[in-house]
Symmetry: C2
Subunit: 162 residues, 2 copies
DNA sequence: ATATTAAGGATAACAAATATCCCTATTTTT
DNA sequence: AAAAATAGGGATATTTGTTATCCTTAATAT
């Protein structure tokens, strides 16, 4: 049970977009080059972000992506779910219904207790991701990454931002 | 990102094994029939539980499985990890290392901040599963399942327990 | 002896993730 | 007006992982 690699890509791309000046856009090409990712496939992840309304896009030269809201208003959960979907990790196939001892026609309405417990764990995972905002990541990165690398990366992005 | 169906099977099987009288064993065949599952494939899940040391086995007629510890000492996490493995849901491919602006030879030692956050969510998921014991599930089931169905199921299992 | 069991190797069928290619409509730049 | 660059998305491989079955072996109870 592993998350799609596009989740990782989307998170890193959002971190870059968070540093983009107001009103400017960064293309798939630039984001792919910056992260060393296949452009066509990364495009799918960015489309997911777009469909979820997390980023705005423009066409044409100097077109690309920018965040649709402030980094402080964008949670990890939103980004992860945009790419990975909102389905639970545990799927209940209701095997208790196969119990040969059950009364004929007996079919429970309430979800299986096993499933409920597993879903609570899923919720704990979501709660954690919902509690972290993109701005939290930016703050950590700005402390951890050497300032010269930060500056050069910022300049690199600005050169390519339409 | 979906858990293996064997996780569901293992949890339900452990719930049945928890009701087994001391010193008795239940076979793959019986567990598969009770849950309406393919015997050969369910066998793989039970082997995982065995390799993890969560169940004991015996061979020959009247052989099968029993829990290796009391239901109060067996957590959901142990069962889930026995089948699903202990790997994290988020895999960091360290794409930050592809940053064209990084200094040559510059290679960070610390894990990527994105990965650390995602791993914290994984830990929250694990923490929740670690907090639930098999005995908790048994208690819920004994309250929710009609007592006549419980009795018949118990008798069904006892008939087949070696 | 015989029948039954767990364990595990080999392999096939199926589904999902990963990746690439190509076409279209739109928008900026020239 | 023409050209170039962009997002969006459909089609389609390729690769990997899950699901499932079959078969052999060693151990054990009857």
């Amino acid at each position: 049970m592993i998350l799609k690699s596009q989740v990782e890509w989307a998170l890193h791309c959002c971190a870059i977009l968070a540093g983009l000046p107001e009103g400017r856009y960064l293309s798939t090409k630039a984001l792919a080059e910056f992260h060393g990712l296949p452009k066509e496939y990364l495009s799918k992840a960015l489309q997911s972000l777009s469909q979820a309304g997390l980023v705005h896009t423009t066409l044409g030269p100097s077109g690309g992506y920018r965040l649709a809201k402030a980094p402080a208003e964008l949670t990890f959960l939103e980004i992860v779910e945009a790419v990975e979907g909102r389905s639970r990790t545990f799927v209940c196939t209701n095997i208790r219904a196969n119990n040969p001892c059950r009364a004929p026609g007996y079919c429970e309405e309430t979800p299986c207790a096993v499933a409920r417990i597993m879903w609570e764990a899923d919720e704990a995972w979501r709660d954690k991701l919902r509690s972290v905002r993109l701005s939290d990541l930016i703050e950590i990165l700005s402390q951890e990454i050497p300032s010269d690398l930060l500056k050069r990366s910022f300049a690199w992005v600005l050169e390519r931002a339409g």
